[in-house]
Amino acid sequence: MLTALILADSRFPGGGHVHSGGLEEAAARGLVTDEPSLKSFLHGRLLTTGLLAAGFAAAAARGEDLELLDAELDARTPSPAQREASRAQGRGMLRAARRAWPSERLAALSRDPHQPLVIGVLVGDPYEAALTCAYLAVSGPASAAVRLLGLDPFGVNAIVAALPVEDVASRAVKELPALGSPALDLLAEAHVRREGVRLFGS
C-alpha cells in the first residue's frame, strides 16, 4: 500500500509532472476551459485510457507475462505519441524504482516499459495497482489544468475526488480492456505536431 501511495504522490520523482495526458492540447483548442469541461474531459479519460491502463497494471501485478502484456498494450495504443508518453513515464518510474524497490521482476521489465506495467510490478496487488494507475490517469491532467487554465485548485480537487476511480479499478481487475479514445489519440498526435511553446511532453 505504501508503494502505491508513493507512486501516486505528485512529489514522486518519476517525471510524471511533465505530462498532461492531452489536456494541454485540449486547452489550447478551447475544448477545456472551465470546471465543467474539465470534469467531462477527466471523466472521458478515466473511462477509456484510464481503464485500459489500469487493466494492464492489474495484469502485471497478477504476474502475467510482461513481454506479452507489452505487445498487447502496444496494439491497444495506435497513437505513437501516446505510446511514447506511456513509455517515457514508464522509464522515469523505473529509474526511481530501481533504487527504491529492486526486484527480479523489476529487472525483467524492458528498458523502455509502458508505465502501467511498471506500476503493476511495483505495487504487486492487482486492485491497488489498478487504482494507482486509474488515479494517475486523471491526477496529472487535473494538475495541468490548474497550471494551464488557472482553475481553482479546490474546485479541481473536488472534481477528481468525485470521479469513479474506484469503480474503474474494480472493473480493471476483471478484464484486460481494449478501450480506445479516438479524440485523445487525435489530441496526442496534434500536440506533437503543434509548433510553438508547449509546457508538457504530452
Binding site: S40, E72, A178, L179, L184, L186
Partner: protein, 233 residues
C-alpha cells in the same frame, strides 16, 4: 434471427481469384460479381432488415495465398432495436493468406439499438488487409443507441491492433477525451507493407502502428467529411 455465412476465396492455376465456397444465410447474402480476374469482387447484401435486437450474425471469410478479395457493402447498415429489447451481435472473422479489402457503407446506430460488433482478423506473414469502418451516432436529430465495436488483428498470432470503442454513453461521447461530441467516427486500418508517413489535421490523423501497419482515424459532424478524409489517404 441467427445467421452464419462463409466465404472462401482462392487462387486458380491461371492467377485468378475465385470464390471456392459461398454460403449465404439471410440476412447475410453474398453476391459474387460475374467476372474473372486477379481480384474477386463480392457484395455483402443485407437481404432482410438487420441487425435488429436479438439478431446474432456471423460471417467467416478465408482468403488463400496469392488470392485477392474485394468485399463491399451496398447500403448503409441501420442498427435497430428489436421487439424483445434483446441486444444484437455480429462477428466477422477474417483468415487471410492473400489480400482482403473490406469497405462497407456506414453503420448508423439508431436510438435504443444495442449492438456488439466484433471483427477478428488473423493474417499470415505477407497477407494484406484493408478494413474501413464508419459509425454514425444516430439518424438526424436522434441520439445514438449503444454500440460496442471491437477490432482485433493479429499477424502470425502477434497482435497488431486491438481497439474497442463504446458509443452511446453521453458523458463519454461528448467528452473531449471520448468522441468530442462528434457524430461520425471513421477508421481505416491498413495492414500491408506500404510505408505511410504520420500526418494529420484537427480531427483526423494517420499513424503507424507499433508492430506494422497504419491506422487512419477521422471524427466529424457528417459522413461526407469523414469519408472524404479516409478516401484521401
Amino acid at each position: 434471427m441467427k445467421a452464419s455465412a462463409r466465404l472462401v476465396v482462392g487462387l486458380d492455376p491461371h492467377g485468378n481469384s475465385v470464390v471456392r465456397v459461398l454460403r449465404s444465410q439471410s440476412p447475410l447474402t453474398l453476391v459474387p460479381a460475374r467476372r474473372v480476374g486477379p481480384v474477386a469482387l463480392v457484395h455483402l447484401v443485407s437481404s432482410v432488415t438487420s441487425p435488429l435486437g436479438g439478431d446474432s450474425l456471423e460471417l467467416t471469410v478465408e482468403v488463400g495465398p496469392g488470392a485477392s478479395l474485394d468485399l463491399r457493402g451496398v447500403a448503409a447498415t441501420l442498427m435497430l432495436p428489436g421487439p424483445t429489447g434483446l441486444p444484437s451481435s455480429s462477428v466477422l472473422r477474417f483468415s487471410v493468406e492473400g489480400s482482403v479489402r473490406y469497405v462497407p457503407e456506414p453503420t448508423v446506430v439508431t436510438s435504443r439499438a444495442h449492438h456488439t460488433a466484433v471483427v477478428e482478423a488473423e493474417l499470415d506473414g505477407h497477407a494484406e488487409l484493408l478494413l474501413r469502418e464508419v459509425l454514425v451516432l444516430g439518424r438526424v436529430g436522434e441520439s445514438a443507441g449503444t454500440l460496442s465495436t471491437s477490432v482485433r488483428a493479429t499477424r502470425c498470432g502477434k497482435p497488431l491492433l486491438h481497439q474497442q470503442l463504446v458509443v452511446g454513453s453521453p458523458s463519454i461521447d461528448s467528452s473531449a477525451a471520448g468522441l468530442a461530441g462528434k457524430r461520425v467516427v471513421g477508421t481505416s486500418l491498413m495492414l500491408d507493407a506500404v510505408p505511410r508517413a504520420s500526418d494529420g489535421g484537427e480531427w483526423w490523423n494517420v499513424v503507424p502502428l507499433a508492430a506494422g501497419g497504419t491506422l487512419a482515424t477521422a471524427l466529424g459532424d457528417d459522413v461526407v467529411t469523414v469519408t472524404r478524409v479516409l478516401d484521401a489517404i
